[in-house]
């Protein structure tokens, strides 16, 4: 299998190198067991420590502790492998960039990161630290005293779906040398004074480093200034940070105060816990909006600044499919080859015959298991379904749907004509336009559905409260609350701001539309309803909309309730399907209307301009 690719532990097929740094190489790899992409971090131990048993033991212990960290703001370590003196850490694959990349890109493009976004990112990291610093050994109840020791923008991962996670717990430190052994460890720019003085560090050192990262994000400059490493190191030793720069940049005084509290040189005068630091940050954020609003702003910002990267990642996913299928094919071929081999040797060696029998039995068992699982699944579904397929729909701003027994089949073709899938039965969540990225997250931040595209079947989602997030290349993330509740003989699902159509929840995206006219001051009718006068701006759900302009002394442009099959022939018509590309719109009479779609900070905007002719 996979002759040309490196395989780690007979399980992880290396695809390509995706990063280098801190004495480690990071590869993207395919997990042949769990069928998903992972990140493999290969770390060579410094010669000086490679033969030191005590050090290796410490390294291993630290890896074990790191693997215990399970938090929505920490990149999960799923495996740790030691092979020929090299260490491999298998982690969840990050579909995104690190904070350093974002800061560098912003600097290059002369964009300043909005304060609330910088603070939001660091507040998410504070959550991760609060968890890690307080983690206790499950068996003994003793604190694990986990300290990251290397908080820096490069270790803060920003997922394209808006998640913020901290990576590289402790390992970066261990890889460079034993902690507190009198050697400077970590990156000088993000070092606490105690780190710079090679003293013992604790959780408060991580908070200091967090403060330095926030300082940089707010000011666009590193906190320790100096043209040489030595000068910066001296500044680090003295915790010499110039807060005046932040004032000059117009940073909120409350926020500067919070930074001063966390950037105090003496650890005992500093904020003592990540919770305290988080409160300071949250106090500032609460002035900027609710958590949900901030998250939305953050996603908008990411989408704008990292537009190319997000697009490239989408393209790469297509490539990823090829390795996925290739590796799986190779696995199948290997299995076939094994079977063939067994066939050839049939009768020659009895033991081999036994192997074949074993293989057959295994296959039979596997099939049985699958059947059992399917039966269980159906049983589980049956619990929620009863009656003759009756569906009750309550539609206000929320949609409540109670599912009956019959369920329904569903399939669809994408705009390109690709077949997307058949859903056997149950509840479908879809978007308009369909084919949007979707994830469903439970209250613990776990992904129930991740990396999927609409429509998705949610009939197996357990009762509880969830957040449904949808987005496309054209539309920023829209987040809605979803509640799944079991009733006596059915299941009820409520999704905020959605509508129900033929048993499907449709989550519409919205566009901003600006309507102008020449001359201005014309009455605008959208779908036969007068909405105002030009120039006019409003949000409009994605779908088909008919526009008409009326002005005294001018000929009306646009038509009343046009027949769809005739729209290409109607004079002055403006009938737009917002989900389709503008160059494909048949319902716009371009002699009278200009229509275009542009991207703004808030997402996509449709600009419509009507040219009216005087009756004279």
């Amino acid at each position: 299998m996979t002759e040309n690719r490196e395989v780690i532990d007979n399980k992880y097929v290396i695809d390509r190198l995706i990063g280098v740094g801190g004495g480690a190489f990071v590869y993207k790899a395919w997990d042949t067991m769990l069928h998903k992409f992972v990140a493999v971090k290969k770390k060579k131990i410094h010669k000086e420590y490679a033969k030191d048993v005590k050090f290796r033991e410490m390294f291993r212990n630290e890896a074990v502790n790191t693997a215990k960290l399970e938090h929505e703001n920490i990149v999960r370590v799923v495996n740790f492998i030691e092979k020929d003196g090299d260490y491999y850490m298998i982690m969840d694959y990050v579909n995104g960039v690190d904070f350093e990349y974002l800061l560098t890109k912003c600097k290059k493009r002369n964009i300043s990161v909005p304060s609330e976004i910088a603070v939001y990112i660091i507040s998410e990291i504070a959550k991760a630290l609060d968890y890690a610093h307080n983690l206790k050994d499950e068996a003994t109840g003793e604190p694990l005293n986990i300290v990251h020791r290397d908080i820096s923008p490069g270790n803060i991962m920003l997922y394209y779906n808006g998640r913020v996670k901290l990576t590289d717990f402790g390992i970066a430190q261990a890889g460079r040398g034993a902690p507190d052994d009198g050697k400077i460890q970590g990156k000088i720019s993000y070092m606490s004074p105690e780190q710079a003085k090679c003293k013992k560090v604790d959780a408060r050192s991580d908070l200091f480093s967090c403060g330095l990262v926030l300082y940089e994000a707010l000011s666009g400059e590193k906190a320790y200034k100096g043209d040489t490493e030595i000068k910066r190191w001296k500044k680090a030793k003295d915790a010499d940070v110039d807060f005046e720069v932040l004032r000059q940049k117009g940073v909120d005084e409350g926020l500067i105060y919070a930074l001063k509290k966390v950037l105090r040189g003496n650890p005992s005068e500093r904020r003592q816990s990540a919770t305290e630091f988080f409160i300071d940050l949250k106090k500032y954020l609460s002035k900027c909006g609710s958590t949900e609003e901030i998250k939305r702003k953050y996603l908008h910002f990411l989408n704008c600044v990292l537009e190319e990267e997000i697009y490239a990642a989408e393209k790469e996913k297509q490539k990823d499919l090829s390795i996925k299928y290739k590796v799986d094919e190779e696995s199948d071929e290997e299995e076939k080859a094994e079977e063939k081999n067994l066939k050839n040797k049939k009768g020659k060696i009895k033991k081999k015959k036994d192997n074949k029998k074993e293989l057959k039995a295994k296959k039979k068992e596997h099939k049985k298991k699958k059947r059992r699982e399917e039966k269980e699944r159906r049983k589980k579904l049956k619990k929620y379904r009863k009656g003759g397929g009756a569906k009750k729909v309550v539609k206000t701003l929320m949609v409540l749907i109670i599912i009956g027994a019959a369920g329904y089949g569903y399939y669809y073709y994408t705009q390109d004509g690709d077949f997307r899938g058949i859903f056997e039965a149950g509840l479908i969540v879809d978007t308009n336009p369909t084919g949007a990225k979707i994830e469903i997250i439970d209250t613990l931040g776990r992904n129930i559905i991740a990396d999927d595209r609409t429509p998705v079947d949610i009939s197996e989602v357990e009762p509880g409260e969830y957040e449904v997030r949808t987005w496309t290349e054209d539309f920023s993330v829209v987040s809605r609350d979803m509640k799944v509740e079991p009733n006596e003989d059915s299941i009820s699902v409520v999704i905020a701001n959605s509508k129900e159509e033929n048993g499907r929840f449709i989550l519409p995206f919205e566009l901003e539309i600006v309507v102008e006219s020449r001359p201005s001051g014309a009455a605008i009718y959208i779908n036969e309803e007068r909405v105002g006068y030009t120039p006019h701006r409003q949000s409009l759900q994605v779908g088909e909309h008919n526009f008409r302009l009326e002005r005294r002394g001018y000929e009306t442009i646009g038509v009343e309730s046009p027949e769809r099959r005739e729209i290409s022939r109607l004079r002055a018509v403006c009938y737009i399907d917002m989900a389709r590309p503008f160059e494909e719109q048949a319902g716009i009479d371009r002699r009278f209307w200009d229509a275009s779609k542009t991207r703004t900070n808030e997402g996509k905007r449709v600009s419509l301009r009507g040219y009216m002719k005087s009756r004279d």
């Binding site: 816990s273 919770t275 409160i279 949250k282 106090k283 609460s286 609710s290 958590t291 949900e292």
Partner: protein, 117 residues
């Protein structure tokens, strides 16, 4: 007039220590042992500041905060939530809390925060 502070906590010891501490600072102090009592007292005579524990039997601190901030009569009461749980703190701010202090409580820090309000 002295600022009126309402301390809400199901822990009797905490209530009495807080009462003594805040009276020493010159505030007029009332206490409530649970969420229901807190809402009742606040609606009857809206305090200037409410120091509100989150984990309480019955109506918890988050529910109290939401109720206080929703009601016209009490929406200007400054709510300081007391919690050591980061997720509760986040929710508290979303429900309109003005400030938060983490547990274990640092009394000087509390005094500072009350002064800042």
């Amino acid at each position: 007039m002295n600022k009126r502070v309402l301390v809400v906590d199901d822990d009797r010891v905490f209530r009495s220590v807080a009462e003594e501490f805040l009276k020493g600072m010159g505030y007029s102090v009332k206490t409530a042992k649970d969420g229901e009592e807190a809402v009742e007292l606040a609606f009857a005579e809206p305090p200037d500041i409410m120091i509100l524990d989150i984990v309480m039997p019955g109506m918890n601190g988050l529910q109290v905060c939401k109720k206080i901030k929703k009601e016209e009569k009490t929406k200007d009461t400054a709510v300081i939530i007391v919690s050591g749980d980061i997720n509760e703190i986040e929710k508290g701010f979303d429900y309109g809390a003005d400030d938060c202090i983490s547990k274990p409580l640092d009394w000087d820090e509390l005094a500072q925060r009350i002064k800042e309000i």
